[in-house]
Every structure is written in C-alpha cells, then in structure tokens.
C-alpha cells in the first residue's frame, strides 16, 4: 500500500493541529514508504532498516514543527529520511562496506525520475485541459489514440490534434524557459 502525497499531507496537518488519530494514521502509512526508501538504498540489512525506519518515525514526530504547510510533504519527509541514512552511514564509519552501489545509483535515478515527473506535471498544468489530458493519456499512460479517445471521450482526430498542438506549445514554452 502506498498512500499518496495529498493524503499524507492531510494527515500531517491533522497531526499538527493536534489530532492524535491523524498522527497515528500518518505514522502507520509512513512505515511501508520508508521501508521502500531504505531498502532501495541499503541491500540486505533488515535490522538496520528497521532501526532507521523507527528513528525516522521518531524524528518525523518530534520535529514535525519544521514542516511547512505550504510546501510538499514528500520533500520534507525524504529530506529527513536521507539525513537519517547519511547519519547512519557516518556513525558506522569505515566498517560499512559500500554494498550495492549499482542499486544506489539506480535509486538516485529513481529520485530524478520522480522530480522529472513533478516538472512534467507543472508543464502540463500550463496547457489547456484538453491538450494536457490527451498528452497524459497517449504519452505518459501509454494508451493508443483509440483507447485515449474512449477514455477521455474525445474524437480520435481530436486526440491527435490536441497532442500535436500541446507538444508544440510545450516545446515553445521550454525553449522560452531556457
């Protein structure tokens, strides 16, 4: 189970407002998220991962005042998780072999991919709804023109034209941003 950003943030804010049930739900939902985060970066250290998850949960709870309600929950959470991991490596000092460097590199790539995802969402939001839906359906969700037309309740040629115009607008926008 992976809870999404909006739900986690809602629980987080509930906890900040003093709602114990929200806080408990948040902490419970974070366990699998953090386990996945650490497992992707540290291979085969079940105990270490459990310790880190618990330490991170304590930090999330005791230092929750540092969460800015105006900003993303994920960014805050993973900054803490990363800090705890680096601190853990530092504490182990040189006795920790760098295992699974490939995994770490892949994992860092994953992070880049998710921030790229955020960029794409930001760019698509700037387009008219019809164009961004068409692009999302055909280029991101991998549907065919026919399937996309059915899902978005548009004509097939409408989908094609929207994708074409949308991509052109995006290209122009990106060139303008550079």
């Amino acid at each position: 189970m992976q809870a999404n950003e909006a739900q986690l943030k809602a629980w987080m804010i509930g906890g900040l407002d003093g709602d114990a049930a929200s806080q408990a739900q948040l902490l419970r939902a974070l366990v699998p998220v953090l386990e996945a985060f650490y497992r992707r970066r540290m291979r085969d250290r079940r105990d270490d991962i459990d310790d880190l998850v618990q330490e991170t949960l304590i930090a999330v709870h005791t230092r929750r005042a540092t969460f800015d309600r105006e900003r993303a929950f994920g960014g805050w959470l993973f900054a803490i998780a990363r800090y705890k991991m680096v601190d853990h490596f530092r504490r182990c000092g040189r006795t920790c072999p760098i295992e699974g460097l490939d995994d770490i590199l892949v994992a860092e790539g994953f992070e880049e991919a998710s921030s790229a995802r955020i960029d794409i969402d930001r760019l698509l939001d700037a387009l008219p709804a019809k164009q961004s839906q068409a692009i999302r359906a055909t280029r991101l969700d991998g549907l065919s023109t026919h399937e996309a037309a059915a899902r978005e309740r548009m004509g097939e040629s409408d989908v094609k034209v929207s994708v074409h115009r949308g991509l052109k607008a995006l290209a122009a926008r990106i060139r303008g941003e550079l």
């Binding site: 906890g15 900040l16 407002d17 003093g18 709602d19 114990a20 049930a21 806080q23 408990a24 902490l27 419970r28 366990v31 459990d50 998850v53 618990q54 949960l57 304590i58 930090a59 709870h61 005791t62 230092r63 929750r64 005042a65 540092t66 969460f67 800015d68 309600r69 900003r71 993303a72 960014g75 805050w76 900054a79 803490i80 990363r82 800090y83 601190d87």
Partner: protein, 213 residues
C-alpha cells in the same frame, strides 16, 4: 520495541503545533541569548556613558544599520536551514548590500579627512579588543540558538552552524554598539566584520558536531 508499539507511544502525545513554530522557537533562543549578552555588557563593559548623545549621531545608526541588516539576513537563512528541505539561497547575496554600503560610507569619510588621520580612523581606540569582544558576546546568543535547534531539523549542519554563528555574531555586535564609542565606518567594516566572521566560522566548524540529531 516493535514499530507498532512505537507508533502507539508516539501518537499518545500529539500537542498542536502553531503555524510559525520554527520562527518562534528561534526567536526565543535568540532573545534569551541576547538577554545574557546584554547582562554581560552591563556587568563587564558598561554602557557607553555618552549613549544618549551617540544615538543622535549618524554613526550610531550606521553601525546599527550594518549589524542589524546582517543579523536579519542571517536569522532568515538560519530559519530556512532549520528545516530539512531548506531550499535555495541565491537571495543571500543581499547581504552584500550592507557591506558595500559600509565600504562606500567608509571611502566617503576617508575622503573628508587628511590621509594622515586614516590610520587613527581605522584603528580607533579599541581595535585590539573589538573583534574578540564581538566574538565573545556572540557566544551566549549562539548557545540560545543551539537550544532552539534541539527541536528543529537541519540537514545541512555546517551551513546551519555557520548561519547560526553569523546570526549570533551580528546580534552580539548590535548589542556591543551600546558600549562601543567608535564612530568611523572603516573601523566597523574591519573589526566588527572580523568578529562577526569569526563567530560564523566557529559556528560552521562546530555545526556538524553540535547540531546532530
């Protein structure tokens, strides 16, 4: 302890957190340290006997303008670095404004007196102790900020220590103005800045050790 028990224990005490909790906590640490610094000045150095007259002179406000603007920038940077996702710091270049303004005022003042007096302007009466006093007066404020950080979550410890030191140095210098009778801009630019810089350096060196959590 297994994770479920841990979560139950944590979620048992959920006190509401006010919106500006980070700023408030830093402000309390800063103010508490400031009170101690102020007491040290009153006790060990004494306030400038001509303070009433000095306040009416522009040089007092030049000094305060310099140290207070540095102190505000440094405190804002510290507040950002107190959060794990601290963001960007391009705006810190704004701190060049007070420094460059002071350079301009210093050059202007120098142009108005014969070069033979420049050395006297630069060294004043207290150059040999000014920087160390500013540095020492920053220590209680730095201590106050360390207390604030105990509930905060910096992830860039060296930077956070450095800006905390800079904040402590700037506000220590601000309070030191209540004692210090010096009036020239190049004096402030050199010896105050040196003391504030030392405080920032010490903060950056100690940060990784003292701010760990």
């Amino acid at each position: 302890m297994n994770t479920d028990q841990l979560i139950d224990a944590l979620a048992r005490e959920v006190t509401p957190v006010p919106r500006h909790a980070v700023g408030r906590r830093l402000a309390i640490g800063l103010a508490a340290g400031g009170v101690i610094t102020l007491a040290l000045i009153a006790w060990l150095l004494g306030f400038n006997p001509q303070l009433g007259a000095a306040i009416r002179h522009y040089s007092f406000w030049m000094k305060w303008g310099y140290t207070v603007s540095l102190g505000i920038c440094a405190a804002l940077a510290t507040a950002r670095l107190a959060r794990p996702d601290s963001g960007r710091f391009g705006w810190l270049w704004l701190m060049a404004i007070p420094v460059l303004s002071l350079v301009a005022i210093g050059l202007f003042e120098m142009s108005r007196v014969p070069p033979a007096q420049w050395l006297a302007m630069w060294l004043g009466q207290s150059w040999s102790v000014c920087s160390s006093i500013v540095f020492l007066l920053s220590v209680p404020i730095f201590g106050g900020l360390l207390w604030s950080f105990r509930r905060l979550a910096p992830t860039r410890l060296r930077a956070a220590g450095g800006t905390a030191g800079l904040t402590a140095g700037s506000w220590g210098a601000t309070l030191y103005c209540l004692h210090c009778p010096e009036v020239s801009a190049i004096f402030v630019l050199t010896w105050y800045t040196l003391g504030i810089g030392l405080a920032a350096l010490a903060g950056a060196i100690l940060g990784p050790r003292l701010l760990r959590w």
